[in-house]
Symmetry: C2
Subunit: 219 residues, 2 copies
């Protein structure tokens, strides 16, 4: 039996998938379990980046620090059954590609908008992790004065970075000219703020967001 048939009752919000066409296995899949020991040592209990962010958002909401949610994945519904005296059942539906980023919300008066990506590369971050419409969305939100960024998790290095959307946009747009299909690790560390993981919240990214806001103000 393939792994996904055992996912009965699992909320889609806890699954991991990058686009509407291909439904990837969650990255807490068995093949990652080789590093399980290390994960326990580091106290992150093998969470995916999405789980870490969702946990942190719960913490931020319950402590009145920020109200940020992951948007549900858009689904195209084809067939719904309405059994008598029971709730509607979706019988045929497909994953659609989201037209925006995954997360948005508010922190201390600031509109927050970001995408979260994990990579198993060590020295590079492929730009194909993004889609044109996400870049366009980040550009549009920036124009309105939003705080926009990407959270990048280097799974093997266990390091997390907040890269300002402006840097991603620059690398994205430069692709056409310089042909670079990925961002180098050093380029990311040079323009990003590192997030140090902790117990509460799991991923204290708002602290890094505050640094980003402070540095924007200085400009």
């Amino acid at each position: 039996m393939p792994w996904y048939n055992s996912q009965i009752g699992v909320d889609i919000l806890n699954l991991n998938y990058p686009d509407g066409r291909k439904f990837n296995r969650p990255s807490n899949k068995p093949t990652l379990s080789t590093s399980a020991k290390k994960k326990i040592l580091f106290g992150d209990r093998g969470m995916t980046l999405e789980e870490e962010i969702n946990e942190s958002n719960k913490y931020y909401r319950s402590h009145d620090i920020a109200v940020i949610y992951k948007k549900p994945t858009p689904i195209q519904i084809v067939k719904v059954d309405y059994p008598k005296r029971s709730r509607a059942v979706i019988k045929e539906a497909y994953f659609r590609q989201a037209s925006t980023t995954d997360y948005n919300g508010i922190y201390n008066g600031y509109y927050i908008d970001f995408e979260a990506k994990e990579t198993k590369h060590k020295n590079t971050f492929p730009l194909k992790n993004f889609h044109q419409h996400q870049i366009d969305h980040l550009k549009a939100c920036q124009k309105q004065g939003g705080i926009c960024f990407v959270i990048i998790k280097y799974v093997l290095l266990k390091r997390y970075f907040i890269m300002p959307a402006q840097n991603l946009i620059t690398y994205w747009d430069n692709q056409k000219h310089d042909g670079a299909k990925s961002i180098q690790f050093k380029q990311i560390t040079d323009c990003s703020i590192e997030i140090n993981s902790s117990y509460n919240p799991t991923l204290p990214y708002i602290k890094a967001v505050q640094q980003l806001i402070d540095s924007e103000k200085e400009k």
Copy 2:
């Protein structure tokens, strides 16, 4: 054949449903067609409030005025098939109740968060249109400095109002003491800003939002 079986290929975003348990017929359903003539005269082409807002949001995005989207409805997925050489098919899923409001985004640096409701009542607006978690969400966003409100459409009166979330919260919380299960039309007009419909955008609600922001600043 019931009407909904003919909805093949219709995007869920264009359907109308208030909660995860009951899937209501869209309000552009045949029973409303008695007023079709009137609708054509008034130029709104029988759109639901959701359609009017979505159309307006498209206009606002394409004119760099605001970036606001309706959040996809959360779906609980139970069974997914992965046919070879073809995209994943969701075979069993259920509508879930959203934990937040329907719309959020950014306008001119302000975090915008709102719920949209239409009613066929003329003199009253039942509070059962809302859920406790939506009220809690609006309270939390207000605390963070967001611009929070409800767009109410009186379908039969063809009038639209932006009611500040604070007023809704007050009426909601007062229920326990005064037992009032609905807000009277006069109470709504007294605390709300009316939106006048137009051609571009269909529902120029951002104009009313700006008035709301201006009046908040005066306080």
